[in-house]
Symmetry: C2
Subunit: 234 residues, 2 copies
C-alpha cells in the first residue's frame, strides 16, 4: 500500500502547500495526467464543488487529472480507474456515512490494497484507520457503524494536541484518548500533531514533518516517536 496521511490541510504556507513535497513523492512514477479521484464528503458547511476546486487548484502542479467523486456519473467506475484517491477533511461522521450509504467504502479499501495511492488529511486520515473512534469531530450524523477503511492496523488522532483553552473544565485530548485506550486496550493510537504526516509504504511507516508524535497503547506511558521510521506494535 502507498498512503500519505496528513494531520491537517492548511498552514501559513497555504492550502496543502506544506505537504506538496510529500505528495509529489507519493505519486512519483505516475505518468502526467494520471487519473485521481477527490472525495469531498467530509465537507458539510462548504459546497462540494467549491471544495473540489480548492483541492484541484492546490494540486495543479502535480499534473494529476482530478475528478470530484460527487460529480462522477459512475462513482464505482471512477474509483476503479483512479491511480490516486484523495480524501479531504471536514466531518469524519459525514464522510463515513456518505461512503457507507453509497456502498463505496469497500471499493475504496480494495482499490488502495490493489495499489492506488491514497492521500488523506484530517477526516481523510481517520478514514484509513480501523474505525473513526479516535476522531475529534462532532457526531452530527449517524454513520451507521464506526468501522472505516481499515488500511492501517492502528488508529490516528489527527490535530493532536494536549493544549487546552484556559478555564475549560471538559476533558483534555489526553483524557479522551485515555478513555479510548480503556475500552480498546490492544489498539494503538498515534497522535499526529498539526504539520505532521504519516507515510506508509507497505509495512514501512515514516513520521514526516518537524514534530514528534506520541503513541498510546492501553495504560502504558505514551511512547514518543521522533520524525523518521516508526514501528507500531501489531
Amino acid at each position: 500500500m502507498n498512503l500519505l496521511l496528513l494531520s491537517n490541510s492548511s498552514s501559513d504556507a497555504g492550502y496543502l502547500a506544506h505537504a506538496l513535497p510529500d505528495i509529489r513523492e507519493l505519486i512519483a512514477g505516475l505518468p502526467a495526467g494520471a487519473p485521481a479521484v477527490f472525495v469531498p464528503y467530509a465537507g458539510v458547511t462548504r459546497n462540494w464543488d467549491d471544495y473540489a476546486t480548492q483541492v484541484t487548484t492546490a494540486l495543479a502542479d502535480t499534473g494529476l487529472d482530478i475528478q470530484p467523486l460527487h460529480r462522477a456519473a459512475d462513482p464505482v467506475a471512477a474509483l476503479e480507474q483512479a491511480a490516486v484517491i484523495i480524501v479531504g477533511g471536514g466531518n469524519t461522521f459525514n464522510l463515513l456515512g456518505q461512503l457507507r450509504r453509497q456502498g463505496l467504502l469497500s471499493v475504496v479499501a480494495r482499490r488502495v490494497r490493489e495499489g492506488a495511492a491514497y492521500l488523506g488529511w484530517s477526516a481523510g486520515s481517520n478514514l484509513a484507520c480501523p474505525s473513526i473512534r479516535t476522531t475529534n469531530d462532532m457526531p452530527i450524523t449517524d454513520p451507521e457503524g464506526l468501522d472505516a477503511l481499515g488500511l492501517l492496523s492502528f488508529q490516528i488522532n489527527p490535530h493532536y494536541t494536549n493544549a487546552h483553552p484556559p478555564g475549560h473544565r471538559g476533558e483534555t485530548r489526553a483524557q479522551r484518548l485515555a478513555e479510548f485506550c480503556v475500552l480498546n486496550p490492544a489498539m494503538p493510537v498515534l497522535g499526529l500533531p498539526e504539520g505532521a504526516a504519516l507515510r506508509v509504504r507497505d509495512a514501512a511507516i515514516t513520521l514526516v514533518g518537524p514534530h514528534d508524535a506520541p503513541l498510546f497503547i492501553g495504560a502504558a506511558e505514551p511512547r514518543l516517536f521522533r520524525p523518521g521510521p516508526v514501528e507500531i506494535p501489531a
Copy 2:
C-alpha cells in the same frame, strides 16, 4: 418534568459545589431520605464505585438516599422507585451505549416524564436531549444509534466555548455546531458555557448561572440568552 442540566461538575468551589443551591431547589418538597439513583456509566477511566462515592459525598447534605445504578440487583426496580435520577458526566457514547444495551433508556425517560427529578451534568445533560449529536466527546464506543432520552425538544452543547488553543488548525466549536446546523437545520442547539445550567419545569426553561448562552438554529445568527427565562422555538 423537573430537570436540572449542568454544563459541568467541578469548579474552583469543589465538586458539584457551584450547583448545590439549584440542586436543593430541584428536589425541594421531597422528604428526607428520598430514594435517588446515580448513573455512573459515562465514567470510563474512573471506577464506577469511586465515582458513586464522589457524587454521594458531594450531595450528602441534600439528604437524598443515593443508590449507584451499577450496584442495583434490579436496575429497573431501582429506577421505578427513584424520586431523583442523577446522571454524571464522562463519555457520552459510553453512557448512551450502556443504557441502551441494558434496556434502561426508555425506563429512565418514562420515569422522568412520570415526575422523577432529573439531575445531569455534561454527558448527563446531553443524554436528556433528542440525541447525542452535539456532544464534544470522542466516539470511543459505538452506542448503536445516537438517539437519546428526548426529554428536551432541542440540543445542548455542554462546556460551550469558542476559545481555541493557539495554532490549532482543527475546527472551532462554532464551526462544529455550524456543521450540525447544516445537517439538522430545524433543531435548536443551546451552547451551555462552563458554570451555566438549564432548569426545566415542564414548559418553563431558565438559564441559571452568571453566563450568557448562545442558541444556534440553522444558518441564522446565534441568539444570545441572558440568565433567566429562555424561550426555545419549537
